[in-house]
Symmetry: C2
Subunit: 799 residues, 2 copies
């Protein structure tokens, strides 16, 4: 491909501030799968990967509907009791984003001919992907293609694309085929255990219909019993003499437009797609078809510009709370907004809808929901879009019956939520790192408690909240046991660190279980009617409190550090001296036999405990623990950098914290894990916000109040972020000298209490409260990371 | 089916002492799969399951050749580094034991018509299965069928059957088809993780040829690259007027004989089958065909009676050492001989040949070799047939290169032998109970050391022995680590008890590793030339000795018992009160999540350590440990009863020991584990001998001398057993009053030293040495087993 660097850049359709947009050009075609993820658009219901309109070249095409999946059989070389026998796998809905183009009979393919320009821009304020391509076909015909696509944030079923082609210099015959394509082939995946399984032809055609330029396809899945309908309505603006027609097959609906295009003339095609998905007994194929046809028609009647305007308005409102201003580092400012954009996109307020680990941006992890959601995404959304957190928690509640059944199957009391799932059943095929990760239950309880504390949503607590808290508390109480010394233990579990498994008394798990038990006890005492409904009596509550009080926390008195799990500090050390750069991630080069028994940490575990349960540790313990575990944590997980950044900041190692924040926020934009092509890592993106707000903002929320111990790194001149707290929107502005707290939307006589470096302050709508930033005490030398593993993003200077 | 109990029993072909034979009748047809295993014949090279000659009804037909297998892909729901991607699976060789019979057009099938008699006898001295059936077809035609089959112990490739049919009352038209059948269909298996996988059509026909009554089929496997040839030569003794012919298809060679049989006349057909198997590049199909044809022809030339005579002579010689006389309990006398018969059958002295967990009696565990061989079978064969032990150890040595490669893959030094295999590669598909069971390496080293001590085979030690000892010692030394307190630890392994996994400092593993390290050190010091060859220097040896000396043995000072693994006694207790009878085996009703973290023991682990390494424990420790673990051991494994019996006897609980012995020795005859249909449990059968000889005979061999602390249970009046020790055969005769030691074959002036209850005595060929049996001290009340789990064989009164 001819380099385009020496030619004047063609301005993208919408000029804009680089801190508000992501741009990719023809230079990036090698990384096409990664870009498809980065440019993915979603409204929490429909997700369009950022594949090229013309369909080729492609990395991994994908159109996802939240909750659309198929079930596939799992088989084990050696089966075991209660090993899941089926797993949910995300499948692509029919792809409505395809506008294929033939130029004098040759398909537009950027790998052929000459690319004169190729710019694609993800506009974070407009909520669109704009694209401009100038291409000379191998036979010498030049065309300019523009498109704008969006997945409508305010209008659940709708995605749309406006696409046009012009002849560059001479008349040329063009043919345009706007396809709606079901069972689109996707490439086979490699052996990496983190990749997805791929089903062939998961959808069975049930109904199709076309009329005029428009049409609808209805399909169903097999085992999961779901029905999906997609309608497309078009506006075609073609020069005279163009012919068009619609062809409708079971798996493909195609609108073809063809004719000869003269220079200065343009063929424009606008497509409005509407998606619905129900259980097969929810609506007949014809019913569902009628529904999506009406939705697509309505969107067309309003027009593409109306969708654009509504998109912008929705985002403007979202950014009011979600935006984080980071002065001093444009690259990370851009990346932070990219992260927040995708978090906003990933959630939906309606009904019981959650956020898979990759959102709707790819099929990595089979499209599963993991603890990433409650552990890393909801702690952000609770403060910037609490209605999305509520929806995700209601989704968990909707699957509480399956969690109860799973606990019974495991012969445990209460409920155990699945480690991986789409439809609510446990889908983890490796139990030591799945079923044994019981902490997911405490993570869910923690998310409930945080949501209720931040919003004051008593209705949620009295209903779904208390029920989830009670059933998870029952699990912990029944799973744990008492030792002779009066301590309460949780043995044989797996904590966050996946380079250990089936361990005893994981501090993170134990502290989170404590929070879960106490939260349940508090909730039933506040809601006696719920207690009665759930059969909770005072003796049971007393048992929870006793267990919570007695939870065992292993500690190495000689080293004066907490043990991540009992005995951790007595395990053999990892031989970092003989571990090469190519040996990372370790899980691809060493057996679990080696990883599990050694002091090597994949991802923050004790450090995460210090982030989530800060009140359980003294400042000195935090500093010592951080130094000990920093030296043993290799960050082979995208979940690691953020908690490390938060605690690094707390203990005063601000340069290290900043580089850890950079690693989290750039995880996908720089494809640090080499897996972005499978979809974005929403936990890393959520973690970026946490690194800023909890790390440099010093925000803590474990005591149901908001406190801040801000400490800015030298790289940031000004940091502005917002939090919703009950009915208020708090703005926090940090500069090296001063912290400012304000309620920009509040009446002068209403307000909230927050803490600033140990001082309780009241913030009202009347005027901002400012406090000086105390100096950060010298924490001494930075604790070493494992050799070669200090965070550093390629192309960036380390701090 | 009509009961036959009220009719006079038809005497089987060979009348005999019930203590030397196993008989089954038509009453047992329900348990046909189990009987196929019990009546399996083998010479360690060819194995014929005891299926009915006529092929139906059947449980699971099977003809096995030692080492004939196919490789199949393994797939994991979540893959991991160094998870085996393929597994070996035993496949059936062509079945030459089929003699189908049609009686007036109706196939002989005992589920139809009337069975007047059906007796099958496994004759433990003749080494044959004799069979007599009288059957009235649905149309009323009566026939008597007799057969005798054998798999020749002295003549490796040969198996043979002599089969005849007579008309009972009236002339009848019969058709006999003697089939040689490849790719015979076998039934699908259930979900039990212990069952085998079944491949369809694993053999591809390469060559076939027939001439006269005889023929040969040659096939090959796919991935494993093996070629198998089977020739059949026949003798047909038919009345006049019978027609015959041979039909040869790729997967079936059929000799048909048909005609009208008058009463008092008999059609007799004798088949001589010869089997060979080589790598595909070892011999061409035609070569191999020629070889087996010659072998079958030679056997026919000698005749069936000659095979019978040689079989008897071989067994007479084997029984001289292998027989155990147990006066006082005819049922267990019979069962003991049954056990020894199958152990003799399972091994072969030639070349590098080992003994799979099921021998050649079934396809359970996919036909894999497990640690059962070195742990439970070789400790017997070393003393009763040391040439078979040598062969099995040479087989391990032949696969040392693969064990070195596996260690490198696991990033460990030395060699790690596979947990499950046929061809030498690791085939375990669940690593926590496979790869992590590193003790298999120490079990192999232990078997080497025992074999060398018992035989004085210096040539073996200097060659394969020292090399295996060194490479396994290197593994332990590299795998373990030193703690600050100067102890040497082995963390993250799985010991014998499969209701625990990935534990730290398993006492069994640690003590066996100690023995391995010291054994390797001794061996290289005795063979400096081998040390040089293997690159062992004195520093390395010193390291092994230091590690061996410092091996950590976890001990609970409060309870005054050893911990099976570090922390075991602090794990939660199993809730036996709420465990029902139907909940066993626990692994089919509880998740590993529950089993692993609790004090519930599947099979002897610490108790096995006390059996293997008796010098590491005081008598008091043994008594306390035994009582502690007896109460927590559920014996869900066939490997458990024997070690428990040995230690129960040592600590004086002789009734319990006797019932545990009964459970071991009847494991297959009474199908206690409900899995005998998959093949016999050779470890349980070997364990029965160990229960007698080590339990009641009190034999110990861990200090490279033979010692005896005999103590007879009240159920045994006289116990006689034999042991080979260097060039001698020692006979030990125990009665309640006296122990007699003699060397029946020795010159008067040669002899050996043994220990009797702490007294060193010299036994020569001159005359027996007798010593009194000291009284067994009162051990106090019998320690309780878990509720409902005290050993008791159905139909037997508990002791």
């Amino acid at each position: 491909m001819q380099p385009i660097a020496d030619r004047p850049p063609t301005a993208p359709a919408t000029p804009g501030d680089e801190r508000w947009r992501i741009r990719r050009t023809a230079d990036d075609l090698e990384r096409i799968g990664e870009i498809e993820s980065i440019f993915a658009l979603s409204n929490g219901w429909v997700g369009w990967r950022g594949a090229l309109d013309e369909g080729r070249p492609y990395g991994m095409p994908g159109t996802y509907l939240n909750g659309l999946y198929e079930r596939r059989e799992l088989s084990y070389p050696e089966d075991g009791y209660a090993f899941p026998q089926e797993s949910d796998t995300v499948v692509s809905a029919p792809n409505a984003a395809l506008v294929r183009l033939w130029v004098a009979g040759e398909p537009l393919d950027l790998r052929t001919g000459t690319v004169r320009a190729h710019d694609r821009v993800l506009d974070l304020r407009a909520g669109t992907v704009e694209r401009l391509t100038e291409w000379i076909s191998p036979a010498g015909h030049g065309v300019r293609v523009r498109s704008t696509r969006l997945v409508s944030l305010p209008r659940r079923p709708i995605a749309a694309v406006r696409w046009s082609v012009e002849a560059l210099d001479a008349p040329v015959e063009v043919r345009v085929c706007a396809d709606l394509l079901a069972n689109e082939r996707v490439p086979e995946r490699g052996d990496d255990p983190r990749a997805a399984s791929v089903l062939t032809d998961p959808l069975t055609a049930e109904y199709r219909h076309s009329e005029g330029h428009d049409g609808v396809l209805v399909h169903r899945t097999g085992r999961s019993g779901q029905r999906v309908a997609v309608a497309v309505a078009h506006l075609v603006d073609a020069p005279d003499g163009f012919a068009d027609g619609v062809d409708c097959a079971p798996d493909r609906l195609r609108l073809s437009v063809s004719g000869t295009l003269r220079p200065e003339r343009r063929l424009e095609l606008t497509r409005f797609a509407a998606y619905e998905c129900t259980p097969v007994d929810g609506a007949s194929p014809q019913d569902l078809a009628g529904q999506v046809v009406a939705e697509a028609d309505a969107a067309r009647a309003d027009g593409f510009d109306a969708l654009l305007a509504a998109q912008r308005a929705t985002l403007d409102a979202a950014w009011e709370t979600a935006d984080v201003v980071l002065d001093g580092d444009d690259e990370l400012q851009q990346a932070t907004r990219f992260a927040m954009f995708h978090l906003i996109q990933a959630g939906r307020a309606d009904g019981d809808r959650t956020i898979p680990a990759k959102g709707l941006t790819g099929n990595g992890y089979d499209g599963h929901v993991l603890w990433d959601t409650e552990g890393y995404v909801l702690p952000v959304l609770t403060y910037v879009a609490p209605e999305l957190a509520r929806s995700a928690l209601r989704w968990r509640y909707a699957h509480l019956p399956q969690a109860r059944e799973r606990a019974a199957e495991l012969r445990l009391p209460g409920a155990t939520f699945p480690w991986r799932t789409i439809g609510g059943e446990e889908c983890s095929g490796y139990w030591p790192a799945g079923t044994a990760g019981l902490h997911v239950n405490a993570d869910i309880a923690d998310a409930v408690l945080r949501y209720v504390a931040a919003t004051g949503d008593r209705e949620f607590l009295a209903g779904p909240g208390v029920e989830m808290l009670v059933e998870t508390a029952r699990l912990w109480h029944g799973f744990g046991h008492w030792s002779d010394t009066g301590a309460f233990h949780l043995h044989g579990v797996t904590g966050p660190d996946e380079y250990a498994a089936l361990v005893d008394d994981n501090v993170f798990t134990n502290l989170m279980a404590r929070r879960n038990l106490r939260g349940a006890a508090d909730a039933v005492e506040r809601h006696p009617e719920a207690a009665a409904r759930l059969g909770v009596d005072p003796a049971e509550v007393a048992g929870w409190r006793a267990a919570a009080d007695a939870v065992f926390l292993p500690y190495d008195r000689k080293l004066d550090v907490h043990q991540q799990t009992a005995g951790f500090t007595h395990q053999p050390e990892w031989d970092f001296a003989n571990t090469g750069e190519d040996d990372y991630p370790l899980l691809l080069h060493f057996p679990y036999l080696e990883l599990y028994r050694k002091q090597v940490v994949k991802q923050a575990d004790l450090v995460l405990a210090m982030q989530r349960c800060p009140g359980e540790f003294t400042a000195d313990e935090k500093a010592r623990n951080f130094a000990y575990y920093e030296a043993r944590t290799v960050r082979d997980s995208s979940l690691s950098a953020s908690p490390q950044a938060v605690i690094a900041a707390e203990v005063g190692h601000l340069d290290l914290a900043y580089d850890l924040f950079a690693e989290a926020v750039l995880h996908d934009l720089a494809d640090l894990g080499d897996k972005t092509s499978d979809g974005l890592h929403l936990a890393a993106l959520g973690g970026a916000w946490l690194a800023l707000v909890q790390g440099f903002g010093g925000m803590r929320d474990d005591r149901a109040v908001l406190s801040f111990d801000p400490r800015l790194p030298r790289q940031i001149n000004r940091l502005v972020f917002h939090l919703r707290w009950h009915s208020h929107r708090l703005r926090v502005t940090l500069t090296p000298d001063e912290a400012r707290y304000e309620l920009p939307d509040a009446d002068p006589d209403t307000g909230i209490e927050v803490w600033h470096h140990g001082e309780r302050i009241r913030v009202t709508g009347a005027e901002p409260v400012t406090r000086p930033m105390p100096p950060v005490p010298d924490p001494g030398p930075e604790p070493p990371s494992p050799p070669g593993r200090r965070p550093q993003v390629k192309g960036r200077a380390p701090s």
